[in-house]
Subunit: 210 residues, 2 copies
Amino acid sequence: MQLFVTPASPWVRRVVISIIELGLQDKVTMIQTRWPHNWATQTIAFDPDFARATPVGRIPALSVKGGIRLADSMTICEYLNAEHGKYRLLPREGAKRWALLSRISIAHGILEAQISRRAELLRTVNRSADFIEKMKDRGLRCFAALDEEVEAFGDDPELAQITIAAACGFADFRYAQDDWRAAAPRLARWYETFSQRPSMLSTQPAETPQ
Amino acid sequence: MQLFVTPASPWVRRVVISIIELGLQDKVTMIQTRWPHNWATQTIAFDPDFARATPVGRIPALSVKGGIRLADSMTICEYLNAEHGKYRLLPREGAKRWALLSRISIAHGILEAQISRRAELLRTVNRSADFIEKMKDRGLRCFAALDEEVEAFGDDPELAQITIAAACGFADFRYAQDDWRAAAPRLARWYETFSQRPSMLSTQPAETPQ
């Protein structure tokens, strides 16, 4: 399997953490991509392999021999969890599946707000301070909602925790001034421990290669 | 179950089409929401019921008695399909699941581009023509990729077809000048038939109430 990645993306990070937690490193070849800063407002030129892997033109993208192409992180995580992970990160069905997907859908709200805000900050013209504020509000609202769920987290890592941890890590990487810990103090205590896992330590965000 | 909706959203439409195709209309109460045009760049005031249903602050949101809250259309469709639909729109597992999720992830690329572009067009200041063009490019690239998949579509409606049809319908509603049919002529022929289903005719897009 080929996975197209960058070191800055929290969407990529949740996939890579999942790969490590499932022990699938040997099955996945990581292909670094480069993104000029004008990705935020321009259609940039895509490497032919990447263009074949995903018409969306975003990372992560997974390409599997035999023709499966998956163009978003949730679908990639579901595929790895089901086909190679014995459903250890997300149950195939039942109440626990919906509890986890409910948390994941809130964490997606954070990740989308984080990346939309990043794209706005990369605009050299027509940057909207109001839009940035709206994305900040959404993120903090979602962190506060997840703070009420911490006691229900399982002992073993699962896809909701992994996704939330990627959001916490990206908040620290790009938006430390927001202080998500003030909005979510119980989540902050949980993250203190979770962030020390080898899968977290080996995937810390770094700048996207241009 | 309570579903928070607006008549303009293609994300909402795919959920409502799924509800109709699964025959679940009696189980779901639709709650119309109102969105002032400054939703694009401002945190707007949320109705308390809606705020309780989703911290993300976006539609659709599903609230189920007993505490399940689902904050995005894919998760809602998965829940309805699994818990009330006997997996008729998306298989629980196996090769067909990944084939459909692969198409769905491309269709999501279109829907996200359509809504990001709409939000940009609603900006009264700091509107970026380049961003609008980037979103247009992404949408047409994804329509062209889906055009190559039409022959593999099943005879019965499934979640990939429903999601793609919502994208086609929104393109006609907001961006008719793009001419997605030129980029995807086989998809256009498929849509001519699919768009005549009762579930499609009864969910045609209309302006969001302000």
